[in-house]
């Protein structure tokens, strides 16, 4: 069963007499085991969407179904949902990790013994077992974040919402969270996460949704969108001087030669021909010119903006 289905969500805020259209006609679906990265500039409407999915903000129109249940109508839907929300710790500072897990387990409708047992298992898995008696206040930011994710998983939800899970974490802690997200997804939990760190999104997401002004302007498998925007060219860097004869040979194959570097947008066979000509000059690297999500993101956002401007005229 589809883990999450959101259909034509719309939310307009009223602020000081002005209307802010935070989300308009946003629809998406996530299947079990899938990671969807939700990307967009500040104020694009990501947090509003996540909170509408979690039942914390009521959409003006549209509906949400978590494994078939509407969180705004049926509290059973909340049992299938875990969430770590933006910018706060989502934990009791004075309680230890063990106590937090047990407390939130009961709050999600588990019995206390089961919550305790599962809590310990999660602590073990998240490598926090040695800190289980330390008040949350005294944990590092990265540990707090991992614990918040563990707490959101205590009742084995089918859908996990993570609003900027790597915000403010150092490189190692981010890697840690990244690995956990992949693992959790592999066990069948659907994950919707927002992030401004596009390299992270690229590495862990199965699909990306790019949101602008409350609308999805692209929603595609991550691998496909990256491939689509890649120029399929190769960049070859080498050391030393290339004489005229060889330069001409290489240009004949179709590459553009610059000093100590050439760009070739052709077949793999052509690439080997070039390498043969280059031999025995030392190579620095040969790589495929692959677009990264940052470039794609900027490009799409720019195009969409340009489109709105021309429409406006």
């Amino acid at each position: 069963m589809t883990a999450l289905e959101a259909y034509k969500l719309r939310k307009t805020y009223r602020q000081g007499g002005k209307l802010v259209e935070a989300v308009r006609e946003l629809s998406l679906k996530i299947e079990p085991g899938e990671v969807l990265a939700f990307l967009g500039a500040n104020g694009a409407g990501k947090t509003t969407t996540i909170k509408m999915i979690a039942g914390l903000i009521r959409p003006d129109t549209g509906w949400v179904k978590i494994a078939g249940c509407d969180p705004h109508r049926n509290s059973k839907a909340l049992q299938m949902l875990g969430a770590v929300l933006e910018g706060n710790r989502n934990l009791y500072w004075r309680l230890t990790p063990e106590e937090n897990l047990e407390y939130f387990g009961v709050l999600r409708g588990m019995n206390r013994k089961a919550a305790h047992r599962r809590g310990l298992a999660l602590l073990d898995r998240f490598e926090l077992l040695h800190k289980r008696h330390t008040p949350v206040q005294a944990l590092s930011r990265g540990m707090q974040q991992k614990l918040a994710i563990a707490v959101a998983l205590i009742h084995q939800p089918r859908l996990l919402l993570l609003d900027e899970p790597t915000l403010g974490l150092d490189v190692e802690a981010s890697q840690n969270v990244k690995a956990l997200v992949r693992e959790i997804a592999q066990e069948g939990c659907a994950i919707l996460l927002t992030t401004h760190q596009l390299n992270i999104a690229e590495e862990i997401s199965d699909r990306v949704a790019i949101v602008q002004n409350g609308e999805i302007i692209a929603l595609e498998p991550t691998a496909r969108i990256v491939k689509q925007f890649s120029d399929c060219g190769y960049i070859i860097e080498f050391l030393g001087e290339l004489d005229d004869v060889r330069t001409r040979k290489i240009e004949a194959i179709g590459a553009v030669v610059e000093s100590q570097k050439m760009i070739y947008a052709g077949t793999p066979e052509g690439l080997y021909q070039i390498l043969n000509v280059l031999s025995p000059l030392p190579l620095v690297q040969v790589k495929q010119d692959r677009a990264d999500l940052t470039k794609i993101f900027l490009k799409l956002i720019g195009e969409s903006r340009a489109a709105t401007v021309t429409h406006g005229n």
């Binding site: 903000i57 509290s75 909340l78 969430a83 009791y92 004075r94 309680l95 407390y103 009961v106 709050l107």
Partner: protein, 257 residues
């Protein structure tokens, strides 16, 4: 529900003793307040004969007053606290629903407070060799008073959910409470008296005073009126709180402080 209550009690207790200095300071302050109360009551009462009665009235009255005040502010205070530490939205994600959790939570808080106060009182009584009298019939009007107090607590919580900054309002409300708990509605004349019954908590407080100060026996009609009043305000409080929750979800300001 019982599991939830037990867990809530455990959490309240753990948070209380996690930083022992704070807990001990709280205890010491409570002890001093009650010791002062004992001394001044003894001074005011003068005649040794009636001391026991008067002292009981004063102490029991004071305890009730602090507890009611505590309950009425508790949900609004908890809401603000949770919003600051970033756990408020997690509570609204619970399938139990926020009203149930906050109710259970204030009950746990109240239990802890009551236990501490009773402990302190017993120690003081042992040391000063005085006795306090507490008749069990007091529990009946007291329960109506608590129902009303919880209703008011939910209403204050509702205000905090929708309007956020309510500290001033809460401060102002203390005076209102003093009025409600002290109005002698029994002495009001006909049309006003009918209105007096509609005031929150006033009927229950009046009945308590009748029992404690005037040594009257429990009047069944008064008690029933007070009970209806308590249930009415409790229901109204829940209703207003749920309305505020919907309102906050519509405006997207559940956690927005």
């Amino acid at each position: 529900m019982l599991q939830l209550l037990l867990t809530e009690i455990k959490r309240t207790w753990t948070e209380f003793i996690r930083y022992p200095i704070e807990a001990i300071a709280g205890l010491v302050i409570t002890t001093f307040i009650f010791y002062g109360l004992f001394l001044s009551a003894r001074f005011v009462a003068g005649s040794q004969l009636h001391l026991g009665d008067r002292l009981s009235t004063i102490v029991v009255g004071y305890v009730l007053w602090t507890l009611v005040l505590f309950i009425v502010n508790d949900i609004a205070a908890a809401l603000q606290m949770e919003a600051q530490t970033g756990t408020l939205e997690q509570i609204f994600l619970s399938p139990f629903g926020a009203p149930k959790i906050f109710l259970v939570r204030t009950i746990a808080n109240l239990g802890l407070r009551l236990a501490l106060i009773l402990g302190v009182l017993i120690i003081i009584m042992l040391f000063t060799r005085t006795h306090l009298y507490f008749s069990l019939t007091l529990l009946l009007p007291l329960s109506t008073l608590l129902l009303g107090a919880y209703g008011m607590s939910f209403m204050m919580g509702a205000l905090a959910l929708v309007f956020k900054r309510v500290e001033q309002l809460l401060g102002f409300f203390r005076f209102g409470l003093l009025f409600l708990l002290a109005v002698p509605i029994a002495t009001w004349i006909a049309p006003l008296r009918g209105l007096g019954i509609l005031l929150p908590m006033a009927t229950g407080a009046e009945e308590l005073r009748n029992l404690m100060v005037r040594n009257q026996s429990l009047s069944l009609t008064h008690f029933m009126l007070a009970l209806l009043n308590g249930i009415g305000y409790f229901a109204l409080g829940l209703f207003v709180f749920k309305w505020a929750e919907r309102q906050a979800k519509r405006q997207g300001i559940l956690s927005g402080y």
